[in-house]
Point group: C2
Chain length 191, copies 2
DNA sequence: GTCTATAGGAAGATAGAC
DNA sequence: GTCTATCTTCCTATAGAC
């Protein structure tokens, strides 16, 4: 992939975060990237092709940033909190990525093409979280009775739900973070 | 509201469930409702007004159907399960409503106009669930230590997250239901 | 209240020069 | 590879008759 293509995809993520997949206009993207619309068609064929490639691009970004969380944590349980709370921060980059991710998921409901790559990225994320939960169990900071995969799937789903409520203005970011911390405690507690 | 308006709004929910908010074409809606596009503008002013009214319409439907759940349950805890699992069923009407609800939430991220009514409907739903949790606590079928509002907000968020994964093809409905049952148990358990 | 017909404009996509 | 210019299609919205 050329540098030009990368810069177009970066611009596409910004435009999607600002206006949604629904609001992405090829002309607007061209302006954001500082090029002509014709060049976008030259590189990506049509609007659908552009979207597909943009979504792959978002996934690659996301994979990069979960690894940063792992590096900062001191124990497995702390790593779990960091990993999940990472998605609920009011910074430009998190907002941009979460918005784009939410748009991707919402679009997949109506667009067959997006479903498989989305399911795959979801699976990767869930597995990562499950693995951290297993480590927390092994180190004694989490109940060994919980099923790691079930817990991981519930927690990541909850993160998506909280994120959507936050981005759609139904909940503050502080409240979303508080609720998520509570859920992590509940999932890992003895019962 | 006239019968005609109701029938247009019903048709709008169906079209949104099939094609999304972005995919809703006034002409397509007119065909679905068996009328002309002009009549839609006559009744709702413009496309945005139509969307706003459709959102309200979906909320009214949803309110109606939570009351059915209340009627069937034998105790507060059972009522909670019915109330939440109601949203995760593979029937046409649930699918239609959930899809439309997800679309409206996703659209609200970019559309100021939809935010306030959406937040209000969310609040109503969360309060209802919180109230059922309080009753479950009072009857001894749920731990009195859990904060009902926190639990209600987490559970309803989880329902939205699970529903989106299901509708976007990242999870089966059976798995979504299983995970939700587990979450209810976790939220209500002593810890 | 409801229709037919259409204005008017936005957005996707392409032709052809450089 | 990249641009300018433009074609075409599609869609919202309205005018005006009934």
């Amino acid at each position: 992939m050329s540098e030009r293509q990368k810069s177009i995809l970066d611009a596409a993520v910004r435009v999607i975060a600002r206006a949604g997949v629904r609001g992405l206009r090829v002309e607007q993207l061209a302006a954001e990237a500082g090029i002509s619309t014709a060049l976008i068609y030259y590189h990506f064929g049509d609007r659908a092709g552009l979207l597909r490639r943009t979504l792959e691009h978002i996934n690659e970004d996301a994979a990069g940033y979960t690894q940063q969380a792992a590096a900062k944590a001191t124990d497995a349980r702390g790593e779990l909190e960091l990993l999940l709370l990472l998605e609920l921060q009011d910074t430009e980059s998190v907002r941009t990525n979460s918005t784009a991710w939410g748009e991707l998921r919402a679009s997949a409901v109506f667009n067959e093409d997006l479903r498989e790559p989305l399911a795959e990225s979801t699976r990767v994320w869930v597995d990562e979280v499950a693995e951290v939960i297993r480590r927390a169990q092994a180190s004694g900071s989490a109940s060994p009775l919980a099923d790691p995969l079930d817990a991981a799937e519930r927690l990541t789903c909850l993160v998506e739900g909280l994120s959507e409520r936050w981005l759609s203005g139904s909940m503050t970011i502080a409240r979303a973070r508080k609720l998520l911390r509570g859920a992590i405690a509940a999932e890992l507690a003895e019962r």
